[in-house]
């Protein structure tokens, strides 16, 4: 159950505080930013999870990242957890805290604490409380990102629901944004963590908006076991079903973040096949999707495929350029641009037709092996510059 409210942290009257409560203690797993500079809430959550104790809820504010805020930031994070815990009769070390927004500005902590108390009273009150929470974690996002599905495991219906936010400072490196997934599946903490890490590597870690790995990134999953399925405590059919469903949820949210990248007009999907290993494929796909030049070319609907090959070339993967083939595909059709290292003359009119669409797939065939990987990103537009030239204002 959740709530999302206007606490007054943002300058505009927009939702900026979300809370999530599990009826019963839930197993929790997280992946955190790999940035050396970690926001106060990241350090707090790492200590909460250090003892593998169950978690009761999440507090998330947008409008202020509480990062680079020195000692005050540490105190403020703890005050947030305590305010939520006291309102609901749980312990502060059963609460995870996430913050997103501007870096380096002290939290307006009185407003935040009051907001948490108000939000705690509203949990589950509204039918749309999940959607309201998804709205309350947005920063420069243009739309709320939420997805849920049901899957039958061990004869029981298991629900997995998630919400996430983008949409700048997004670059694949463990967790690269905020993502919150809740499920009623009954699963061991060890396998829950493994499932999250595995799916994170193929979803959130495979998106990039601008190459900047945030100080506040985290993806969290809470599993409270209320579905009543036989506890998943080993690899097998039930675990596979769960991880497949979890990956679907996370893939949907990750793609939504890429699609809603700051200033984006197009979703880019880079599919690398024939890589020597999945790791190679991931590096190659991520390098292409993160290239400013590739992104600017797609914004301009310019079939500048040489930049794709160039970005493959500096991905840190060895390969033979004379074996590479490249195609651009959208719902309007497809064009082949390079075949086994040789450029292909192509029709510029057809290329423009293909590239005018809102979703473009770049298919790269390496002919080095059998592995494949997909990365998602967006184009680089004037609006990205506008948004980030005045973010604090």
């Amino acid at each position: 159950m959740a709530a999302g409210i206007i606490a007054g942290i943002k300058k505009q009257a927009k939702k900026d505080l979300a809370v999530v409560l599990s009826d019963v203690p839930a197993h929790a797993a997280c992946v955190f930013t790999t940035n050396v500079v970690k926001a106060a809430c990241i350090l707090f959550n790492q200590s909460v999870l250090a003892n593998n104790a169950p978690v009761r809820g999440l507090v998330i504010n947008s409008g202020n990242a509480n990062a680079c805020t020195g000692e005050a930031g540490v105190v403020h994070t703890r005050m947030m957890a305590e305010a939520f815990a006291q309102s609901l009769g749980v312990q502060a070390n059963e609460v995870l805290v996430a913050s997103t927004g501007v870096i380096g500005v002290p939290m307006p902590i009185e407003i935040v604490v009051e907001g948490i108390k108000s939000a705690a009273k509203l949990i589950g009150e509204s039918e749309a409380c999940g959607h309201e929470a998804a709205e309350a974690i947005m920063t420069t996002d243009c739309f709320a990102k939420e997805f849920s599905l049901e899957v039958e495991i061990g004869g029981k219906v298991v629900t997995i629901g998630g919400m996430a936010k983008g949409s700048g400072m997004i670059h694949p490196n463990m967790a690269t944004m905020l993502g919150f997934v809740t499920t009623d599946v009954n699963i061991s903490p060890v396998l829950l963590k493994e499932a999250l890490q595995e799916s994170n590597g193929r979803t959130y870690n495979m998106i990039s908006v601008d190459g900047d790995t945030s100080t506040n990134n985290m993806v969290t999953i809470l599993a409270n076991g209320q579905a009543g399925n036989p506890r998943i405590d080993k690899h097998g059919a039930d675990y596979e079903l769960f991880t497949e469903a979890l990956e679907s949820v996370n893939r949907y949210l990750a793609k939504a973040i890429a699609r809603d990248g700051e200033g984006a007009t197009k979703l880019l999907e880079v599919f690398v096949q024939g890589a020597a290993s999945e790791e190679d494929g991931q590096k190659l796909a991520r390098s292409v999707v993160a290239s400013s030049l590739v992104k600017a070319a797609f914004f301009g609907q310019d079939a500048n495929w040489g930049r794709v090959l160039c970005a493959l070339g500096y991905a840190g993967v060895k390969f033979d350029p004379t074996k590479v083939s490249i195609e651009f595909i959208s719902q309007a059709g497809g064009i082949s641009l390079m075949n086994k290292g040789e450029p292909i003359a192509f029709d510029e009119g057809l290329a423009l037709t293909v590239l005018k669409e809102k979703e473009i797939k770049v298919v790269v065939s390496m002919a080095e092996g059998d592995a494949q990987a997909t990365a998602w990103g967006c184009d680089l537009s004037y609006d990205y510059v506008r948004i980030n030239g005045s973010y604090r204002s």
Copy 2:
């Protein structure tokens, strides 16, 4: 001696072909792109230099990179070297070839070969031939980049002159653009190579415009010994004098490339002091100067220093964020933004005054050791997106 002409490779009537000739055979040293995808000319030059044989000249065209052009590209590069060699009575394997421009489009080789023959006849004819050559290697550059100085070594006046071009697909990784330096110093080939690599690491390798490492990057130096100084064949005072002078030339050209980055309105200089090692300092400085979010904030004259700390955090260097201090300095003054991990309240009016200037210095103090490093870059503007949305057109 040099020449720069309009051969007709570019769509517009702009200079697009440069040739450089050394009166006598010169020792040559090069650093090349680390991109796995290397343009045909890079592979050709590597073979020319493989035997440490002397070099007589350079042929450089702009308007077409001859990269990702398959087998035809290999043939075309050799035809360029042969055309130059035949015109001047030297051997094709004494000629280095560089190309820059659009990737993946076949060279208009007849036009290029005719241009080389014409240019060869004009070498040294014009008093401004060096400047004309510097103009002829430009692509999206707004101004020609050239610099020369004289230094007395062993009682003789040694001249070092260089030209370079930017201004997109620029990211530090060995050589990240085209740079050509000629000198009459008398030096052993081994020390010439060492001097180039050392200064490259502190100059061209420390700039970034857009994070993309090109397929065609190279920096070349030719030294023909005509200054008559006692041959530099060991480390010592003469070698130090030469490397210091060479670094000045390369630093000037590297900064010019950063200042003229595609769409740039500001030169950014990131100075990291107190790093644990020079390598750490370089990684930290490069990470800040390459961050799209840092660059967009400076374009918007927004003192969003949290993004600087964030970019330090994902540089791949371990450090203690609570020891970091950050200042922004320009000729209009300076502002302290973070002191030993604690944010400092600052005057927004003063910040704007500082950030309105065309050259901004970001000073980062790590308090981890005694090493320092400097990187140069530029802001990210609407014009970067405009230029790269339609580069091929």
